[in-house]
């Protein structure tokens, strides 16, 4: 049996054998001669790779240095490491109370993400489906929130939290994160639900299915892709944030990783062998997640902006 690729060859009329065959489309990676253009592209690739290396160099340097002994680094900061140690990490681990603070940060980030997605999706449904003027007005009001820096509301928020007895509580911080991230969630969900055809919902309504049930049975399952995009974005923001927990959580037992790192480590006086492991521990959970969900996260981070 002939392979499909050779089939045209066989069916070719015998008389036309001598005519020059059309050249197959150029395959870029065969060993063609080094034309100036290819040379330029090749050089560009080298420059590109060098540029990228330059960007990760500080990162690599941080990892290598954090595994060296202080004396070794002091002798030659950029030299070849002689010995590796994990002592720096165990030291930093206890210095920033890594266990407790990681649990705190996880709790705050997790609860905030749940609240943001639930409230955002619930709000996005009517905003996408109801075309009355007030609905547009509410939507605009939410969009306004995407450009308000936290700094503008931080002082009045502090007074409000004090009056509500929510200072120094997880609930307070979670509510703040929920409120300041809701505009983005509302924007994501509203624009996503608008693209879902209404046929299914109309059929459900005729069958006597209420709005609540329609939402949970028909709309909610369709929201998974936009939710994962939103979650990659906001979980990164909340995990990495310093200001809100710094201002609103004073109890040492409730502090987050970033606050502990900020309060216990002065980068201008400590050795890089103390500084770098702390910095890496703060990033570690995200880095692990990034390695597993790399594809979704890259898509999420760029999709969030193209909208």
């Amino acid at each position: 049996m002939t392979s499909p690729l050779s089939a045209p060859e066989i069916s070719r009329p015998a008389g036309k054998r001598d005519t020059p065959r059309p050249r197959p489309p150029a395959r870029p990676h065969t060993s063609a001669p080094w034309t100036p253009r290819r040379l330029a592209t090749g050089l560009g690739t080298v420059v590109l790779c060098l540029g990228t290396v330059l960007f990760v160099l500080p990162f690599v340097f941080t990892i290598v240095t954090s595994l060296r002994t202080a004396a070794d680094v002091a002798r030659s900061p950029l030299g070849i490491p002689h010995s590796f140690t994990l002592k720096n990490f165990t030291h930093a681990f206890s210095q920033i109370h890594y266990g407790t603070s990681t649990l705190n940060t996880l709790l705050i980030t997790g609860l905030s993400c749940v609240l943001i997605t639930v409230l955002g999706a619930l709000a996005g449904y009517p905003l996408a489906r109801i075309t009355a003027g007030w609905s547009t007005a509410v939507y605009r009001l939410f969009i306004l929130g995407t450009s308000i820096p936290v700094f503008v509301v931080v002082a009045p928020l502090y007074l409000l939290m004090r009056d509500l007895n929510l200072l120094d509580t997880y609930a307070g911080v979670v509510l703040i994160y929920t409120a300041i991230n809701l505009p983005l969630a509302v924007f994501f969900y509203t624009s996503f639900i608008r693209q879902i055809p209404t046929d299914l919902e109309e059929a459900a309504a005729l069958d006597g299915c209420g709005a609540l049930r329609t939402f949970f049975v028909i709309i909610l399952p369709l929201l998974r892709p936009v939710t994962s995009t939103l979650l990659t974005f906001i979980s990164l923001q909340i995990w990495n944030d310093l200001l809100v927990p710094l201002v609103f959580l004073q109890d040492p037992g409730k502090r987050t990783v970033m606050v502990n790192a900020y309060s216990f480590i002065d980068p201008h006086t400590v050795q890089p062998t103390t500084l770098f492991p702390a910095a890496l521990l703060g990033v570690l959970p995200l880095l692990v997640i990034f390695i597993f969900f790399q594809r979704q996260m890259v898509a999420g981070m760029s999709a969030g902006a193209v909208k």
Partner: protein, 290 residues
Amino acid sequence: MFHRRRATMAAFLLPAIAVYALFVLYPLFRGVYLSLTDSVGGPISHFVGMDEYKAMADDSQVSAALWHTVLYAVVVVVVQNGLGLLFASMLFRRPRVRRALNVVLLTPTLISPLMAAFIWSYLFAPNGGLNALLDGVGLGSLQHVWLGDPSTALYSVATVNIWMFTGYSCAIFLASYMSMPTELLEAAALDGASGWRRFRSVEWPLLAPALTVNVTLSLIGSLKVFEFPLVLTNGGPAGATDTLTLLVYRNIFGGGKFAYGVAIAVLLLVTVVVLSSATNSLLRLRERRV
């Protein structure tokens, strides 16, 4: 029946509106009101009108901080998006390395600003990584007290910002590149247009929406920069890297000048809204033209 559905649907909005109104909108209005009082954060305060704003107009620290904030934003927006575009256009032409390098370039974006500031505070230290590197490659004469010299401190802080987010700009430009109609790009290539010609007359116009998004995002992000100057310089040397956010933080939580800090926060809001809406509408106008 549909009417009742609408009512239930509208009820879905209530929790979101309640949280948003209580913890964002109300503080926003209360902040504007507080900036017109002499409040120190306690229960007693008097309405003093524009006094805080008048004091702000005479305060050279505030005008300097405003200037640093805007200069910082301009440097970051231009360099970060320039580099991001350069990387994206080079990556687009090299499908074999595209994905891997894009992921690598995005890693700094994951780091928290605080951790990035930790890493760079050592790299910029007088006997830190950067100076050691310069010495090592025989450029010892270029060694510098990067964060200690008022003329380089702000740019050094901006470098950290650019380092962190260039990969992000690049990813957005690259996503826009990938959605370009291939027929158009192939037609330009078949017509024998040079690389630069193709970029200038085909790709650049098609990148307009991505440019708008990138400039807007990096502008808003860099105007509210906080962790980098806080950790790297804390506003020093001699106030050369004081930003509006640092002044807000210092006045509200450290200086006892609560209302003054709130007034500076309002100035920050006005700066962000004016600059971002101005550039946004300019860029959108441009999108329609090209």
